[in-house]
């Protein structure tokens, strides 16, 4: 198991990396701030694995939760509504805020 950089509960921002091709970070979370809910383990990097490499070393894959209102300014729903998804560690950077 690869060593984790982010602990559960940590506030993170999704980086907007110039990765082309097969990557698993949807555009709607880039630049957005969320909180680490857990770590799913470590997995080969799909951005490399899709093109013939083994994708190793494996990267930590985090389950990150966002407030819907932080993703969609016009979100119609409860303030508590949220969205979560799995993001690889190299797409995350520490964030500070509420």
């Amino acid at each position: 198991m690869t060593e984790r950089r982010f602990a559960d509960g940590a506030l993170v921002r999704v980086r907007d990396l110039p990765v082309k091709g097969h990557m698993r970070t949807p555009s709607y979370v880039r630049g957005r701030q969320g909180r680490i809910e857990g770590c799913q383990g470590s997995f080969p990097n799909p951005e490399e694995r899709a093109y013939g490499s083994d994708g190793l070393p494996a990267r930590s894959l985090y389950h990150v939760r966002f407030r819907q209102r932080d993703l969609w300014p016009a979100y119609a729903g409860l303030a508590a509504d949220s969205l979560s998804l799995d993001l690889f560690e190299h797409w995350l950077e520490p964030a500070h805020g509420t």
């Binding site: 698993r24 970070t25 949807p26 709607y28 799913q40 383990g41 997995f43 799909p46 894959l61 389950h63 939760r65 819907q68 993703l71 969609w72 979100y75 119609a76 729903g77 409860l78 508590a80 509504d81 949220s82 969205l83 979560s84 998804l85 799995d86 993001l87 690889f88």
Partner: protein, 206 residues
């Protein structure tokens, strides 16, 4: 015979294969030609996947409703819990999401069509459609309403986008009025859509 009648014919686009279809056919024939795969192996794999149905997931849900210790194991490790019931779910990590009266989960894959196929079979066409994939994340409550799903106003909605190496199975809320039901009877009211999160399990189904 003159072709001057006015009944509709399919347009050329209906017949033309897409570039990706031609590419798939070319790769497939190369793999067979090189002896890496056989046509029968491809056929058998398609048959295997098409035989998996949401009944597998429903058995898991029914057991979880009936046995709190199993539910705890399911939430901790869904692949191992499926294996306890003889359901093979190897290869990809599956995570069960427990619905409660206060929290409802809705699963989507915005990037493609990731789906817990080992437990639910192949995804429905709408799950792969751009409309569901884009709207489920940004207006989940409107999507739920269009599926006829009404949640109590205070229930929080959590959308889970299966973006990477995990697949998600919703553990629906057990409906009232099902106390004392057998696991088989419970499994019969657990529909595919309730395990995706676009519907609720209802005691009146089936």
């Amino acid at each position: 015979m003159a072709h001057d009648h006015d009944h509709p014919h399919p347009t050329r686009a209906d017949h033309r294969s897409h570039a990706w279809e031609r590419r798939e056919a070319a790769i497939r024939s190369l793999l067979i030609e090189k002896g890496l795969l056989t046509a029968d192996a491809i056929r058998a794999k398609i048959e295997e996947w098409e035989q998996k149905t949401p009944a597998l997931g429903a058995r898991i849900v029914a057991r979880a409703w009936s046995d709190p210790a199993f539910e705890a194991r399911l939430l901790a490790d869904a692949n191992a819990a499926a294996a306890e019931l003889g359901i093979e779910a190897r290869g990809v990590k599956i995570v069960a999401l427990k619905n409660t009266p206060r929290l409802h989960h809705l699963v989507v894959c915005t990037l493609c069509s990731c789906y817990p196929r080992a437990l639910l079979g192949l995804p429905p066409a709408w799950y792969k459609a751009p409309a569901y994939r884009s709207r489920a994340v940004s207006e989940p409550r409107a999507v739920l309403a269009e599926f006829g799903t009404r949640l109590p106003p205070e229930t929080e909605v959590k959308v889970v986008d299966s973006t990477a190496d995990c697949r998600y199975l919703v553990l629906p809320l057990r409906p009232a009025g099902t106390e004392g039901w057998s696991e088989d009877r419970l499994a019969a009211i657990v529909g595919r859509d309730a395990m995706i999160g676009v519907a609720l399990a209802q005691a009146t189904r089936a």
